[in-house]
Amino acid sequence: MYNNLGNQAGPTGMQGPTGNPQPSPFGNAFYGAGSGLIRGGLGAYGERFLGSSSEFMQSNISKYFSNPQYYFQVNDQYVRNKLKVILFPFLHRGHWTRITEPVGGRLSYKPPIFDINAPDLYIPFMAFATYIILAGFSFGLEGKFTPEALSIQFTRGLAGWFMQVLLLKGLLYSLGGVEAPLLDMVAYGGYTFTGLSLTMLARLCWSSSYYVVMVSTSFLMGVFLLKTMKRVLFTEMRSYEKHSSRQHYLLLFMVIAQFPLFWWLGKIRAG
C-alpha cells in the first residue's frame, strides 16, 4: 500500500541534509502517484504539458505543493484513530512526533498509514463536506434553506479554512522562517472542521447544548494545534531559540484565536 516513491518531496526543512529537492524523484512522483489523476485530467494533452514543461513544473510546483498523494494514503483504522486524536487530544497517550525514515539518502516522514501523527488530507476534505451538509440541515430545520445560502456557507467555510492556514503559516513564519510544506498546514487547518461538524451535529440534536459543545471543541482543537505546532517547531528550529517566551505567547494566541474562528464558522446566518 505504501508505494515507496523514493522522494517524499513534502517534508523539507528537516534537520540534516536537506539541500534542494532533487528534480528526478519529484518527477517520479508526478508520473507515478498523482499520475492517475493527472492522466485522466489532462487526457490527450498530458504528454504535451507534462513532457515539455516538466522541468518548469518540477522546479515551481515543488516549491509550493508537496506531493498530494502522500496525504491520501489512509485507511479505515487510521481515520478512526486520527479522529480520536483530533477530537480528544488529551487522550492521546503516545508522543506527537512523526516517524521518520531514511528514504533515498534523505530523511522523510512516513505516510499516514504507518504513523498516527502524520497529517492527511482525506479527513479535512470529508470534514469540510460534512460541515456543509450539516449546515444545510440546520438551515432546513429553521426553514431557511435555499441552495444559495448553502453556497454562501461553503464560501464562508473556505474562508475560515484559509484563515486558519494563514494563522498557522504566520506562526511558523514569525518564529524564524521554519520550513514546513504548505499542504501540511492545509491539513492541520482543515482538522478544525471535524470539531465544527461535531458542534453542528450537537446543535441539531439538542439546541441548548450548542454553546457548551462549541466552547469545548474549540478548546480541544486549540490544544491539538498547540501540540502539533509545538512538535513542528521543535523539530525545525535551531536549538538556541527553543523555549523562548515569544514562542509561547504566539502559541497561546493561536489557541485563543480558535474561539472566535469557531464561533464565526458555526454561525448559521441565512445570507
Binding site: 489512509v74 485507511n75 470529508m126
Partner: protein
Amino acid sequence: MAKEFAVRPVIFPSSTGNPNVPQHSRHPGAASAPPFQPPRPTAPGPANPSIPFMSFDVGAASASSSFSAPVFASVSTGGGGHFSVPGSFEDEPPLLEELGINTRQIWRKTLSILNPFRVKPDLHEDADLSGPFLFLMAFGLFQLLAGKFHFGIILGWVTVAALFLYVVFNMLAGRNGNLDLYRCLSLVGYCMLPMVILSAASLFVPHGGVLIFSMAAVFVLWSTRVCTGLLVELASGGDEHRGLIAYACCLVYLLFSLLIIF
C-alpha cells in the same frame, strides 16, 4: 494505397454494383473511390486504409460497442449504404443510434440500479450520459412539481459532486486508480435513481415530518450502496478503501437529499 487527389470526384449512385457507401465500410481495395472523401494524410495507426476518419457516420463514432456491430452489419451487406446526399433519407441510421443513445441498455442499467443488494458492474462497463441526463431531467421535473425550480442547481451540483468523487477516488487509489471523469459522472448520474424516486415520493408525504426524513435516510443508503459497489467494481484500486469511498458517496447523496427534503 493509391495516390489520392484532394477532391474526390462525385459519383452518383448508378447501375454500378458499387453503391456509395460511407468510408469506413468500403471494401478494402475497392476500385472506385467513394465520393466526398476528405483529403487524408498518410493513414495513421492501423494499416487498413479503408477505415478513414469518421466524418459522416456519427452513430458509429459515439456508439457504445454494443450496437456498433449492427451498424457495420447493416452496411456491409451492401444493401444500400447511407449516403449524405438527400434523397436517401430513409437509409440513414435511426436517430437514436446516431446519437449513441441505446435505450435498451439504458433500461437494463436502470433496472440493475433498482436492486441495492446485487451490484451488476458489467452492465455499467460502458459509461454513457444519456441515462443520467434523463434522470436529472426527471429529478428537475419532480422538484418543479413541488414548486422548486432547481434545474441549474442540480446540474451544477452533479458536476461538482462527480469532480469531488473523481478526485477522492483517484487520490485514495493512488498509483493504480483508473477512474475517469466520464465514467464517474455516468455512475453518479445512474445512482441518482433512488433520489428521483424520493423526490417523486416526497410530493405525497407531509413536509417536515418524520416520514420524509426516514425515507430520505433509506434512499440515501440505497444510493450510497449502489454507487460504492459500482465504483469499487469498475475502477481498480478501490477495494481496500471501501468504507472511505462509501462515506464520500454518502455525502454526495445527502447533499441531493437536502434539495428534496427542504
